[in-house]
Symmetry: C2
Subunit: 368 residues, 2 copies
């Protein structure tokens, strides 16, 4: 999507790969929205470190980064011995996997690269296939988001006021984004949209990343405290909610997403406002049988007890907000039950959450 720097607007992707220099380019998301910097990693170790340092985050974005990292590693291999190459690739795989041990996307992305590399008979062929597979993975991530946009934009009427939570925008993917897909598509169709961005404490990805994305794209928006949506629902100032999802259970229609998502679904239901979840097909979990089995990560207390922001001296300053003697609870995710969800927006259609399972043939099709 577009980024304007010093008056000049040009399109960027969250992650790209340059074959000639064998480097991966990543937007440094830790510095946003206060500074826009693209970091170039010159080998797979640096790429792994970028994932580890959360320079890049978001399911699709870290999937593509890991895929590119594996291709980057493959391409850097000197020599032609297939057995040495095989051992080396395994090490690169483990290195990139360990960069974000609980995430499933990097692993799935790299397994797909490995699968396609099997088609090559020489090191050179495998290297070329690795790069092609990583590029294909990134391309597919973009196409999924484009598909979500196409499907979802018909839900957005001209003048609609949309609430979103956290960042399921293009920074969380390679481009376009899931929850933002329908919004960008509606804009492209000439519709006026206003977005309310939940700031999304404790990490404030709504106030920082989503608000930055929307501003770059010229979409009218307001940041709100997570407390404020209830009042806006009461005053009929929200027409539609669209959020993303970290994991959607194909068997039950339950949706795990950033903490606070469930609360917005409860409010939307009370006010009869449609509540949609936008997801690429890769985030559907076809195995788990209950949302109760989704592990809810309890994150660091410091996130709740303070905040990161910019002041005159620093672009990334931590201030302690809460009482110094107090502790915090910090669950990172919650699970929204299917009865609160109007529809799941996917690249292949919009489904009621309970209907995912019976449409699984269509939804599991790798080549949609």
């Amino acid at each position: 999507m577009n980024v304007t720097l010093r008056g000049r607007t040009r399109p960027y992707r969250t992650v790209t790969y340059d074959a000639r220099s064998n480097t991966v380019q990543l937007i440094d998301q830790r510095l946003l929205p206060h500074e826009f910097t693209v970091v170039s990693t010159s080998n797979c170790f640096e790429t792994g470190q970028a994932i580890r340092d959360m320079l890049v985050r978001g399911a699709g974005a870290i999937g593509a980064t890991a895929a590119y990292g594996l291709a980057q590693g493959a391409k850097a291999f000197p020599g032609e011995d297939l057995r040495t190459f095989g051992r080396y690739i395994k090490e690169v795989f483990e290195l990139l996997k360990s960069a974000r041990p609980t995430a499933v996307d990097p692993v799935n992305a790299m397994l797909e690269v490995l699968r396609q590399m099997k088609g090559g008979e020489t090191v050179a062929e495998k290297q070329a296939l690795a790069v092609a597979a990583a590029e294909e993975f990134a391309h597919e991530d973009v196409e999924h988001c484009r598909g979500i946009g196409r499907q979802g934009s018909r839900l957005i009427r001209n003048g609609a006021r949309v609430l979103t939570h956290c960042n399921a925008g293009w920074l969380a993917f390679v481009d376009i984004g899931s929850a933002t897909g329908p919004i960008y598509a509606a804009q492209a169709e000439g519709k006026k949209v206003h977005v309310f961005c939940d700031e999304t404490r404790p990490r404030c990805q709504g106030a920082t990343l989503t608000a930055w994305e929307l501003a770059q794209q010229g979409i009218s928006h307001d940041v709100i405290a997570d407390n404020a949506a209830g009042h806006l629902f009461q005053r009929r100032q929200i027409d539609l909610v669209i959020v993303g999802s970290d994991r959607t259970l194909g068997r039950t229609g339950e949706v795990a997403n950033k903490i606070g998502t469930y609360t917005k679904a409860v409010l939307a239901r009370r006010h009869r406002v449609p509540f949609y979840v936008a997801i690429p097909l890769s985030s559907i979990d076809w195995d788990l049988r209950s949302g109760r089995n989704i592990p809810i990560e309890e994150r660091e207390q410091s996130e709740v007890l303070g905040a990161w922001g910019a002041n005159g001296k620093s672009k990334r300053e931590y201030v302690r907000i809460a009482n110094p003697l107090s502790t915090a609870r910090n669950p990172g995710f919650d699970v929204t039950p299917p009865d609160l969800i109007t529809g799941i927006i996917t690249p292949v259609g919009i489904f009621r959450p309970k209907d995912l399972w019976k449409n699984r043939a269509k939804l599991r099709n790798k080549r949609w």
Copy 2:
């Protein structure tokens, strides 16, 4: 309530008056929880400035501060001419009123002081009556909170986990507090209580003031992001909600309180968790006929776009969190309808919100 400084514990009130030196003592709430300082104002102008600067906040606390400020002004008057004294008192009244123009408590408190001053025939008599009336106002504020505690503590079983929002603690009153009244009373009765403090963005009075209060009082608690309560409700980790109120409508049972209160009431209802509002009798509005008529103040955007906290260099540092090009909406309050409220805890009993009006004789009685 208790404050421990350098290992020594002693009781404090949010605001006190020293007759000998004619000074008002105020806990500087802008510096909490990072620094505990008591400021002494030596004349009514300084007291007015302290209200204006939000050194003191909270309905009961600013009511008592204004009452003391008026008495302080009266006592400082030199001479015996009643007409000059009368004109002078009027000016002091206007000065203190203008310090927080939208608040109703300072005005009500000062009107009561003026009413009682009428009983004096000389300047000296009126001065003495002003001081006595201000002391009585503060005393009554404490007694109301004590009464709320007595009434409410029976709702708290041993081991209960209570959610509260914002600060309706002793810092918002002269002592004890409204929402915290039942918690402190339950503790005094030997019950174990755990409190979840919503951090209460954007101003974070839960993370700063309520958490500080509870820590000083030795009450087990955790600060949570405003987003987290929904998940805790789902996991059955909250037994009871108690919040305060800025204004409760006696005719309808609607409750205006800090933004986000309504959301917690909606969640509590979904999970069949009791939701109580604790109020002194002074915060009931017997005139307004609909919550729609309560003006909802839209506060400064900077509150939502950033946060105040402490870092190594400063006890009060502002950091900008949100995207610099983004705007914010910042409604300060919301209105919770009576159907979501289990009961209103008052010093004279616990009432269903719809029953306030038929109990108005009891609730409007100045000498309960």
